[in-house]
Symmetry: C2
Subunit: 496 residues, 2 copies
């Protein structure tokens, strides 16, 4: 789901600081600027202090670490990537941060690089701290219903590890088989099931964090409840790497539900499907997942996978129920949706799995189209208005818009596309893609929503964040940033 | 449930600053100190700026506003209470805060005064800002599943207001018929249902907050999801009035479950009841409420209410199930608890209500006993060890300890009692009560728990908080406090 890609690349060019000359010789490829010299001294210090630490100097090979999943198109324009450290322990993270702080070199924390807002982008004068090797599942306690994990653990790997215990970790971003728990924490990742189980924040009980002075601090508690002092866990969750580096997390687990069932409901149009959401809200059923596919998305999936969804209707609500009384839940849901014109099917296990697979990876991107993604969220009742606004924006900017929505919590992922004229340069993205995505975000704000439901602000959406947050709000955020990272060591220019 | 009362009163005497002489004449009762003079200037400013504002000067009558529910015994030693403002709008709160800031007078935000940690205590040189008159339910949106409320709304009043909508606000502190939403937010209040529905933080989507510079800031969003910038909502929730004054909250609502059922399970001993908790955890049932009453608590309730709980067993698990499939849930729960020796009864609606009423108000306090309360929480699996430690502490300090626990989330409310010798002064509390409560808290920490599960730190538990949090953690908390309230205007000496 590589959203937020092409358009933002055009509006926020990577590496705003002047690129350091061209690639030089192996020993000092980044010589030249004063910043580069400082990075070189950090590398020198670490080589002698931590000879066992895997540390890569800025090179062609480290360019992968300059971008995230939404900014990969920038790779073509890069000569060198950043320096990258791969610590394997909290102590190594502390030593790396201390060395960087000593020489005033910016540190960019990085999880699996699957982010969709440019939160982990880095330039060749910065030091990326990758948490890839901090990937141990330290403990699973079925009776406390917690696990202690390092940040580099992949979300899906944790869930596979939990299967024999009959437990699961609820936050399930669509990227769960490639994204790490640390990255999920950094973005306060959402996903499909959050309407019922909450976002990442609701599943994090405690964190070990390396702060900008290199100190290691434990925040939160292993008990479910705890209110001693300010809620520092929530300060770090969603902070996109600007306040510290998480080196361990105590996460909350839940028992696998006694039953799960997939229900599909097709409607004749996008509008009818969006309107039907309020029928679920008025009912007593609270599904674990409610995904709304609009007409364009169904067409897109059919085109790219050979599925025949559009033959069943013009919009799809794909719903997962779980827990006790699944038949009763299903009957109440069916009654609610049929009353508003839905064609309701209780799917078999196989058909249900096929539909969820289409949800996760069915959408395709035509190489002859430019595209830009979004991550807006609105109050649940305003979803129909949001979809109804797509044609307005399409007409205004001459683009095409389709969306799938985590409708249970009001979070939409619109994709704006524009067909390239014959012979166009794919890397020169016309401004109307970004403008259309921005117009959608502004309309979400008018509806009482937000410009980012779950992907974060990163480096790509600072302009949109400025539309949402008041000056005083932003001043408060910057004050907290300065309080915890006075030298602006961590992930400068991101998130706030 | 007046816990944390007598013992802490002895260790942290109220009004550490020297009391200002004796009560003087009406116009300048607090004349004398420089601080008092500054408060007088605030009162003068507000009288001219906001003639309509109800503002009480320090007097005998305002002594009620000097204490919370846990510190009422201090009233006897007070000559005068604080100044108290009763704003009716955000604008009035802003004006009050600005006037106080201008003259450097400490502001103590206050909800309903039902706190149990001395978080709202104030002295005669401070200005209490009461949110009692900010008590409007501004909006209920069934389709967004949110309500917008002012902070003075009483928790139970909100729930009564929501009944016609088929919705409820989940956080349910035992004090819910006297505590306000604002106070619940200030303490991140828990309650009985949090094991299933989360604590207050999980139900707060957005806040309007008056900051120390008098500005009004909106944080959060009306959508369920939203990750734009740092999570300032969570910074304010649980901050015990040290960062700002909440003037409105957008809270999340949930549909009333299709069914609720009370199940009781009696066990032969406290230890057997505590051990049985893991049988629930190992099952697939997740009750909305799990309360564990130990033997002493059952005896206490029988003595004070004439109930006959002890005839049924030596410990009680009082459980509420809710949602779909209630019979199936109940059968699975019964099987799990009978397998570990429980005498399980599915209670009738009437009997169930009677048992919940005993839970809320059955415990009594003997006027011939000193007592001190606690609010510890431990990881769920450690609850048996916590109860097993009571006799150790009893023997060491010569006291008696009984507890009821929100066992679903590991939160215990032990009450330490000591019989007064003939002719003893009730207000002179022997130190072993506090020492015993402190020993329990320290043991909770050894088990990986916390010194406060839901009541907060306030002014009563700063010593315990210092045992729990590392120096670096506390430094980070103070840095955030300084970032948002550099002049330490709000609620000085509390929480952190």
């Amino acid at each position: 789901m590589p959203t937020e890609l092409a358009a933002h690349a055009s509006s926020t060019p990577f590496a705003g600081s002047a690129p350091a000359a061209t690639a030089g010789s192996g020993s000092a490829p980044f010589a030249g600027s004063e910043t580069a010299g400082r990075l070189q001294r950090v590398i020198g210090d670490l080589a002698s202090e931590l000879p066992q630490l895997e540390l890569r100097v800025p090179s062609v090979e480290t360019r992968e670490y300059a971008v995230d999943a939404s900014t990969r198109t920038r790779l073509a324009n890069l000569d060198l990537g950043p320096a990258v450290a791969f610590p394997v322990s909290a102590e190594e993270v502390q030593a790396v941060v201390r060395a960087a702080a000593r020489h005033g070199v910016a540190v960019v924390p990085r999880g699996a690089g699957s982010g969709l807002a440019g939160g982990a982008t880095a330039d060749q004068e910065q030091l990326v701290v990758s948490t890839e090797r901090l990937n141990r599942i330290v403990e699973v306690s079925p009776l406390d219903e917690v696990a202690v994990v390092e940040p580099g653990v992949i979300n899906a790997d944790l869930n596979r590890h939990l299967e024999p215990y009959g437990l699961f970790y609820a936050p399930d971003p669509a990227s769960w088989d490639i994204s790490s728990i640390g990255g999920n924490i950094a973005t306060n990742a959402g996903g499909l099931r959050c309407a019922k189980y909450g976002v990442t924040r609701e599943s994090i009980l405690a964190l070990d964090v390396v702060l900008a002075d290199g100190s290691l601090v434990h925040v939160g508690h292993r008990s479910i409840k705890g209110v001693t002092g300010l809620d520092l866990v929530s300060v770090f969750v969603g902070s996109e790497g600007i306040l510290g580096i998480v080196v361990a997390a105590t996460v909350r687990l839940r028992p696998v539900p006694v039953a799960r069932r997939t229900v599909s409901a097709f409607f004749e149009s996008t509008a009818a499907g969006a309107d039907a959401l309020s029928a679920i809200t008025r009912s007593t059923v609270r599904p674990s997942v409610v995904e709304l596919f609009d007409s364009r998305t169904l067409e897109n999936i059919d085109q790219h996978t050979g599925s025949t969804l559009t033959a069943r209707g013009g919009a799809l609500l794909l719903i997962e129920l779980d827990g006790y009384g699944i038949d009763e839940q299903s009957a109440d849901l069916r009654a609610a949706l049929e009353a508003v014109g839905g064609l309701v099917t209780e799917e078999s296990v196989e058909d249900g799995e096929a539909l969820w697979e289409l949800r996760r990876s069915g959408r395709g991107f035509d190489p002859a189209e430019w595209f830009a993604g979004g991550d807006i969220a609105v109050p649940k009742s305003r979803i129909p208005e949001m979809f109804a606004h797509f044609p307005v924006v399409e007409e205004r900017f001459g683009v095409t818009i389709g969306a799938v929505a985590h409708a249970g919590d009001g979070n939409l992922h619109p994709i704006v596309t524009l067909r390239m004229p014959e012979g166009a340069d794919p890397s020169v993205v016309p401004p109307q893609l970004h403008d259309a995505a921005s117009a959608l975000a502004q309309f979400a704000l008018e509806l009482g929503g937000t410009v980012s439901g779950e992907h974060g602000i990163g480096s790509s959406k600072l302009d949109l964040a400025a539309l949402e947050l008041s000056d005083r709000n932003r001043a408060a955020q910057h004050a907290i940033k300065r309080a915890l990272d006075p030298a602006a060591l961590f992930n400068p220019g991101k998130a706030i």
